[in-house]
Symmetry: D3
């Protein structure tokens, strides 16, 4: 039903009316410096967010009962103020349930979640260790966890900050781990993959994503490492035959996956599988950060022979897109 | 029954025979460079440890069935080799159960454990928060935990490295916290004291103390912070009415009590009670380290007007005993 | 005489005239981009500061002889520019001496300074060491030092940044130290309290507070540790019988109270009293920073179930008000 | 011809004579405290090194003309002194050229060097970028470089410290890189593999391995990064058609492969290929360090349920062999 | 020909027309929020840079063929917008070659470049080591290098960021090194001076200064240390008799001149000459930063008894001008 | 009178009797493991120190009244034990006053102290600032300070650790500062030289050198920076006309001369003179450390083409003697 997105509005003429639906992230009554009252909203959909102002909040066409978290139907136009876009709202009401397609209001993975989920189950299916297979099956069959695992973003802002991002991140790491593991016969493949699947599972409670992406207070006070370890510990405790040594190793994988104490892991990796997990997690995040920076450069039309700006996620270093600089971009796309 | 201790043997003449009992910390068959076989033992009691050698291990008076962890009766004499004391063992057998007083073989608190335990229960009794009182009661009434809590050392080597050391450390911190808490009305006293009682509880599994003091593998891979948090989490989960917010705070107290990420706390203190706990724990450990260094100086006859050597537990700094240097030591003892 | 304060003006309507008195922190003649001249002032009272502009500086009703440090009487109104409040000044003259109550123009402790001072003297009175008692008496009886000690803020911006703040900070630490000292028999109480009283005394020259709070150049080049040590050294030199060992210890207390070289202490604490002082000073500052952040949250109406923003004085961490989050705020106030 | 190795001598009886050949690493005339002259040698073969002493250096059977770097034939016996093994030399002469098999005197890879070299050439053959293929071909066809590349150890002491170690390390990384590269379409495979092949090429001059493994002075003053960059730069300069942009990227791969300034890389990785190279090089070294520690534990008979000691190459952490601890060692060996 | 400079325009009345010449640093067509097209330029001369806007880009008087790097003649006036100065351009055309004095458009040294160059050659002439003299002669006679060396700035922004800045910096260091060298007989004067002359020579390719000052991509990926070492290595390779030990030392001087790994030097100084070079380079840069801060203070009319603001190039410390604060400025100027 | 030095004894035959004089650094009665009593001494002269044992302490020829700090006459011989040299003492008595030449017993500068002192006074004489000249005159004329200044070592162990070392170090720095100062007109020469003369003056009380070199307790608790600042402050206070601004600057020079907080300077250098002082002090110490390492290498016969070992005073780096490696040593000696 929704046809006009936040990302479309940059191109709109000032003053031209349009109708659309948005999610309300925040809502406040305010007064101008000259004491004129107005309703101030932060509205979003999956493409971004925008401020909106209703200058006649007493107008009967301006819905009074709107709250943070509602989807609303608005009629309004865009305005520009100091180069910043705003919406001026003429009319405003809560959307009817049948008008709401929840997927329209927050950024989401572009992959098919059901397919990713099946890939995940497939990896578990491939395990030869019966205890680890049973542990993961019991966790992934828990409808509360499974539902959250499929929806959760992997982060609030950095990499994979979208619905389904956690699952997408885990599938990428599983595939990568499966490529690398055979190179090192010392590695216990099932334990490594178990670590990949569970390392960030605490994020299902560290983050809240019903209305935008936020850290929960539990998340800030405990962190996803501790939440995930607690969750895994309870799951293992409920499997009577789960070997206690294996339990210690699974918890150690979760605890040590950030690789260094100063990154919030209370333990350094001390087994081959946790060393590998911490490397792959870091490597994948940094490669993803590079890719995102290059995509952004391409979107913004940065010429191929320019360096990026200083990238926060990579210690403020500048980046160069090798293929673009060498002029091999096209060949590459063709050859793939 | 035991009358001669490791600490006594330094004064013994070489060659003079004596009988005594010791705990076997390690046992190995070895050969000299000239291929002479001998039995090599590490023996200890609560005052220290010593090497022993039996040069005729085939002699029928040398017990064959001795293992790590046994208490043995020995007949032998001391020898000195390169200024190091050793025992030469003539005879050796397992002690009979009725000969063994377990308290003789490992260092232990000089306080009355039952009295310390009653102090601990008294603090819990004084709580006004019913949930925290019930939580601690349920943990301290669990006979497995309570037994371990009463016995556990607080560390393998540094401060309070003796049986009962954990309990002694906690009582000291409880008393200190109770002095400081009223100075800051912002503090939730019961939560602070709960943190004190539970912050190191993971040490009951991080350390093993049946035969000497050792870290367990679980302890090395997970650490007492994680073990303690898991233990507390399960205890709270088993109390149906325990408020979830309070649970988060109790876990946060345990997680953050080392105060800094690089000290192995995965979270910084973010509430007044955890900030206070991390300060008091650090302060008490450092004051204890100073006290121990001064005691050692006094034992070794270091003159009052000399600085200590570089103290490892205090960043290699040297220390000075104020009162001794000012010549006020005696007055102090009298006035107390 | 002063009835309208800076903190009141936020609620004023634009354009409505009022009369009041303020202290001049800065004064400059400026020109607009269109070359219109105006007089630019920074005005303050104990509740905050505000910019003021007089658009007709040549108007005879605008006093010409005004300087930094004067208290002025103004007639004007408020204006809002980009959400920032300013004063538009119609008339302006120096206040008459009889109109000025100095206490109105800079933030000051809410405690009774005379009472705090008596508490301080009471602590000194309680000393049993005659030399330290005489030292502090001689310093606190010096009218120049005593006057400054009563007035000085404890900092330019962070904790206790108000007149009387130094004294308030010292009394809080004395009370705290007196609670903690008996827990450690090793501590020389009088030396500890002497350290508390003298540790920040250099701030009477590091800061200037006659017109706003500023660092002096002496303060920036030498620092309050050095200034305080010099002041204490001269005071001890002037007491012929003061023991030289005690002098070394008193100076060491001042030098080492920041606890670490990188915090500007040229020496680490090496005696029990200086270790304790450095801990308590740091602990008290951090607890105060927490309290101030919670007070600010309450003033700004932050809901109890929200974390604070990142707090600069606590390493950018976020904070949570335990009692508020647990909904125990009211009980607490009643029960106290 | 050589039949008795250093590693065999530990089991020898004292005093029993044997004949063998060794390489002389050092040679000095010394005097005992009682002024008895002797000849002191450090002798080695591919299994280790040992001290030797000739007590009658004037004896005509003791060769006078021996120098560092000679292979010698000795007749002697072992002695044990303070648990340390030594050789007592009765006779000693230079070996005849026909007695010397150079491969016997320094540790060397257990792989077939010719096969590794063919693998290396095979990787180059697989390149699609003509410039990089030509660059590597020209370097690897240079007989001076190729000879050194085949022989060089990868380090003096840590990982791959044996003849052929550099080549072995590069082949392992090439295989690993080839597994990982397809996971990231952004990567320029040929450039990545070029970086792998050239990143440590400076070690052919940083190390000397004719008589034991030593750093050269050039190596200490310039380092293998700089030496390798210089070598690569000259090779590219000598290819007239080599694109200048590609040259910059190849040099950047070498310069940044340590990943951090403080590890001696003058530049951080700024392209995807150098980021990947720095991760894989570090990961492979750490996995190798784990494997070596486990092998050492197995050789020394450390029980499976014990942690290793603190491992220098892994920040002093202790390690646990997952499979051994879980008791899966055998299954693993069978299943592979 | 140019009479009006960027630095003059701050004082200009809005709207008053003037004619002048500027260099175009950037050029873009843009649209206002209300879709009004305009031409946006960044214009500069040796005194600074300024934005310019042409509001009628279709006007035939607005040159269409203008590119980044052109010098243009403009007619326009200044405007102020939010306190920021802009130029409004009425007319605009490329300057004719005969109108352009290249020296007017970028900041340049105030010294006579020819004189500085002769000083440099004079230092080389004074060498007694024939190889180093020949090396420097061959480098400085290479017209491509010599030309760039004379023009290059020493940095993009910090010290000596002007045309000729590199040469000026080197002459200052040569003079200083020549003063210090005789104090340490251990120093090899010619090697030290060679290091001074070559340490920053890589900046001739790290920076580009034809149109403003920019880092080249080669500069960002390789850095001036590596570029300079490569350049010096090729120069030494082309001198057949150049001793290989001396070559290693010259390269080591360049590699280690930043003094610490974390400052981008892949090697620490290990010979007296490189230690001295790294100290003098750092000292001279910091003294220059102090001088520049004091000059800025004087230009801005900062009173002598005020500290500077926090200076970025000196770890955010504040500075005080000794002579100014002591009131000795005038005497000094007279006495010199 | 003394003819045989510690440094001579290494070459002595065991058992051969000799007579000589030494200073007693320590004296203890001890017992062997077999309960044999002996007298243990640490004896020294200006060339080093050595242990001595008297095996028949009850023998009437063994002086009973010997104390730490006495010079003694001994008759004995050398013994070697585990490669360590000892003296076996047959006879032992206090030396008669007329036998003692104090200069024989501690290492001392090889320069003429009176000449160095005159150089120092000459520098002061050259000042044009009357206040600084008077300050230094008053300090250097104080017989207690002047005496100590002439005798004090500059350190306990590192650079200039000999009697007169402080003076030697200061003269070297004065000469260096005087070479550098004219290069920077911004520098206040007299203030810089004042800083050089006073920066380490606290060492006259930080160290004790009557019997060996030791830190005093005052030195350890306060440090030479604080002691020196206190000393300078009192000297300036006693000059009624000394300008207060100049006093602040002089104190700042002393406080900041270590250059960084973590090196124990409570303030960073903030004026040109203190920046210069901190650089020169560090540079001179490091050049001296290089020189000492090369001298040691020469004494120990290290070949010119070897690097030094890892040098503690230079961050564990290895060093290379440029001239020796280039084979220019001789030329240099001739040309100087």
């Amino acid at each position: 039903m929704k046809e006009i997105y936040v990302s479309d509005l940059a191109a709109y003429e000032e003053g031209k009316l349009f109708d659309s639906y948005f999610l309300v992230l925040a809502r406040q009554f305010r007064t101008t410096q000259t004491n004129k009252p107005y309703l101030h909203l932060i509205l979003c959909d999956k493409t971004g967010q925008l401020e909106g102002r209703a200058w006649e909040p007493a107008d009967p066409r301006i819905g009074k009962d709107i709250e943070r978290g509602d989807v609303v139907k608005v009629r309004g136009c865009v305005q520009r103020f100091n180069d910043r876009l705003q919406m001026k709202l003429e009319q405003l009401r809560k959307a009817y349930p049948q008008e709401i397609d929840k997927g329209e209001y927050m950024p989401a993975t572009t992959y098919d979640v059901a397919a990713l989920w099946n890939q995940l189950l497939g990896f578990v299916e491939s395990f030869s260790d019966p205890h680890l297979k049973m542990l993961l099956t019991s966790i992934l069959e828990d409808p509360k966890i499974a539902g959250a695992y499929r929806e959760a973003p992997a982060a609030k802002q950095l990499h994979h900050a979208w619905l389904g991002g956690l699952l997408e991140h885990v599938i990428s790491l599983l595939t990568l781990a499966d490529r690398v593991a055979p190179h090192y016969p010392i590695l216990h493949r099932d334990l490594l993959l178990t670590g990949v699947i569970l390392h960030d599972i605490g994020k299902v409670r560290e983050l809240a994503w019903d209305i935008g992406f936020e850290y929960t207070i539990e998340g800030v006070l405990l962190g996803h490492i501790q939440i995930g370890a607690g969750l895994a510990e309870r799951a293992m405790d409920s499997l009577p035959a789960f070997p206690s040594r294996l339990k210690t190793l699974v918890l150690h994988m979760i605890l040590s996956h950030h690789g260094k104490l100063e990154f919030g892991s209370p333990k350094l990796p001390m087994i081959p599988e946790s060393l590998m997990l911490s490397f792959l997690d870091d490597l994948d995040a940094k490669m993803m950060a590079m890719q995102m920076e290059f995509d952004k450069g391409a979107r913004e039309g940065r010429p191929a022979d320019e360096l990026s700006g200083k990238v926060w996620a990579l210690d403020q270093r500048q980046l160069l897109n090798t293929r673009a600089w060498l002029g091999e971009e096209k060949e590459q796309e063709i050859s793939q």
